[in-house]
Every structure is written in C-alpha cells, then in structure tokens.
C-alpha cells in the first residue's frame, strides 16, 4: 500500500497540494498587506507595506491557481493567461503605487513624527529641482 512516486495520480496529487499551499500563502500575504494598511501611521508607510505584500501575494496565489488546475492544462489555455497576468501585475503594481505616493507628496500630506530626514524637501528648498507637480 506504499504510495508509488512513479504513479501518475500520486504525482498529480503532490502538485495539487503544493498549489494549495501556495494559494494559502498568497492569501495570507494579502491579509498581511491589509493588516499593514490598518496599522501603519501615515500614507507613505501604508503604500509601502501594501504594495510589497500584495504584489507577492497576488503572484503566489496565481501560481497556486495555475498548479491546482493542472488536470485541465491540456484542454484549455490556463498557463498562458496566468503568465500574462503575473507579468502584468509585476509591471503595473509598483508604477501605480509610485504615482500615488507622488500624488500624496504633492498634496503635502504630512509625514509621521518619527520621520528623520527628508532629502526631497531639502532639494526643493535649495532649488535643485522643481516641485513634482503636473500642469
């Protein structure tokens, strides 16, 4: 009754459990992102934690979904769509957060009190660069 590694069904099962574990890890990562969204003191730190954790969470979850659907791979296109979605998330998520952070800086939302240095403000004051505002 010992499980045979070379049997097709057993390998499938192992891959499915791996996919399930990836899915759980990804959703936990998303949960951590939302806890960070609740706990952090100011906008800048919220954007930081939110972006990192939710990017990795989405990537892991989609990898897990791709592995869990391994039985249907031969029938329709799961893997190509998953790859496109993951690449799209890696490109767009940091850019949209960067734009948001810049908007927050333009709105002059104050930093939390713990903030030590602000080189950007120093450089704007010294006229090294102009304020990041679109017109």
């Amino acid at each position: 009754m010992s499980p045979d590694i070379f049997k097709e069904g057993f390998r499938m099962e192992i891959i499915q459990y791996l996919g399930g574990a990836l899915l759980i890890m990804g959703s936990l990562s998303l949960l951590i992102a939302s806890i960070g969204l609740i706990r952090m003191p100011d906008v800048y730190n919220r954007v930081q934690t939110g972006t990192k954790a939710s990017t990795l969470g989405a990537i892991l979850s989609f990898l897990g979904i791709g592995l869990l659907s391994i039985e249907n791979w031969s029938e329709s296109n799961w893997i190509g769509r998953v790859i496109i979605l993951i690449i799209f998330i890696i490109i767009t998520n940091p850019v949209s957060s960067h734009i948001l952070m810049r908007a927050a800086y333009v709105m002059k939302i104050p930093f939390t009190k713990d903030t030590k240095v602000d080189k950007l403000k120093e450089d704007i004051d010294n006229k090294v660069l102009e304020e990041p505002k679109d017109e």
Partner: protein
C-alpha cells in the same frame, strides 16, 4: 481536502477585503482611500482566479486581465486628478 484548502483561502481573502474596506471608510485623505481601492482590487482579482478554479473554466481569466488593467487606469486617473493634471 483540496476543497477545504480553497475554502480557507476564500475566507482569508474576504477578511483582507474587510481590512481594505476599513481603510476606505476611515482614511483621512483621498490618497488613503485610493490605496484602499487598489488593495480591494487586488483581492478581488485573486477572488476571480479562485472562481475560475472552482468552475474549471480558463476563460474567466480574461475577465481578470481586464479587471487588473482597468484598476491600473483608475488609480492613475485619480493620481493625475490630485496633481492637477488631466
């Protein structure tokens, strides 16, 4: 067994949706609300993926791609609106 794993994942996703919603209501500034919007969108994106898995139809992923694209556009529009562009 796999089904229970998926159920746990869905419950965790719904809880993190609640976290985003809290920030959406509470957020002192507009940027906080947009960050919450972004987080809600990513969670729903994964939710759509799980639904595709449950029904066994790969075609639902097309909807997920459109969803991600439009959320990117939405965030950029609001950011440009704040900066006075558009």
């Amino acid at each position: 067994m796999i089904k229970y794993l998926i159920l746990i994942a869905v419950v965790i996703l719904l809880m993190s949706l609640l976290g985003g919603l809290y920030r959406f209501f509470k957020g002192p500034s507009l940027v906080d609300k947009v960050v919450a919007f972004d987080s809600i969108t990513v969670n729903s994106l994964v939710l759509i993926g799980v639904m595709a898995l449950l029904t066994g139809r790969a075609i639902y992923f097309d909807v997920a791609i459109v969803y991600g694209l439009l959320s990117f556009l939405g965030v950029i529009v609001v950011a440009r609106y704040i900066q006075g562009g558009l």
